[in-house]
Symmetry: C2
Subunit: 149 residues, 2 copies
C-alpha cells in the first residue's frame, strides 16, 4: 500500500450536520437536519434548489418514515435547522438506518438525489442525550462510476 | 404519525460488528471486520459463501481502498476477525466513508452484494483509541424496491 498524500483532492467532500435524540418517555425519535457544507462538491448547477431527504429505513407501514426539508437555493453552505419526529419504540429504532439524501428539485417538482449518507441506529443512545455530528456524503455519480452503488 | 408497535418485524435486521482505529504516528487506519449477525435476514441460500467487502471511499488512486474477507459458509452468525490496514493521512481519512457490503460469491467467483452499511469517517478519532460498534445492514433488494438505492 502507498501513502496517500493527495489530501487536496479529498478535502472537498460535501458534509451534512445532523443531530439525533431519542425521547424514551414519549417514544419519539427526533432528527434535526442542521446544515450542509461544501455543497459544490456534489456538482450542482447554480440555479437549482436543494432539499435534504431523510428516511428511517426499513420503513414500517404503520409510521411515517420519509421527510424532506424545504428546498433552498444553492450556495456553498446551507442552513436548514429543520426537525422531524418519528413515533417509534426504542427496540424498533435500533433496527433502523437513517438514510440522508441531498437532492435537487426542478420546477416540475422532480427530485434527483446527488449524494447521501447512511447512519446506522443500532447503537443509538436511549438516555435522551442529543448526538450532533458531521457526516460525509458519498456522491451517487461516483458510486455509479465505481459500480459500488 | 402512528406509534410503531411492529417491533417483531423489525427485530430481524442483519448487523455487522466493525472496529476501527487510527494510528496517527504511522498514518495507518485499521479496519477490523469482527462478525456478522442475523445473516438469514439478508435472504441467503443455504449453500452460498459469504464475504464482507470493505471500501474506503472515495478511493484515491494512489492507495488500496477495497478489501475482502475470506468467504465463509452461510450460518446465522459468522465470525470473521479479519483486519485491513490503509495508509492514509488523518486529514484525508476524515473526508472518507467506509462502505461495508455483505456479498455472496459463487463458484465462478462472481460477487453479488445483498446489503450494506455506510460509516462516515468525518469524526473519526485521532487518538488511536479503538471504536467497536454494531452497524445495521440495509438490504439492497429492499432499497431497490423502494427506489431509494
Amino acid at each position: 500500500m502507498v501513502f496517500d498524500s493527495d489530501d487536496m483532492e479529498a478535502a472537498g467532500t460535501a458534509k451534512v450536520q445532523i443531530a439525533m435524540k431519542y425521547d424514551d418517555k414519549n417514544k419519539q425519535f427526533a432528527i434535526l437536519v442542521i446544515q450542509l457544507s461544501n455543497v459544490p462538491a456534489l456538482l450542482l448547477h447554480q440555479d437549482q434548489k436543494v432539499t435534504i431527504r431523510v428516511a428511517v429505513l426499513p420503513c414500517s407501514e404503520s409510521t411515517s418514515c420519509l421527510f424532506r426539508t424545504r428546498p433552498m437555493d444553492v450556495s456553498d453552505n446551507l442552513m436548514y435547522s429543520e426537525i422531524f419526529w418519528v413515533s417509534i419504540s426504542y427496540a424498533a429504532l435500533r433496527q433502523k438506518t437513517l438514510r440522508v439524501d441531498v437532492c435537487t428539485v426542478n420546477k416540475s417538482h422532480l427530485e434527483e438525489c446527488l449524494g447521501g449518507a447512511q447512519i446506522s441506529l443500532a447503537e443509538i443512545c436511549r438516555s435522551g442525550e442529543k448526538s450532533t455530528r458531521w457526516y460525509n456524503l458519498l456522491s451517487y455519480k461516483y458510486l455509479q462510476k465505481q459500480s459500488l452503488k
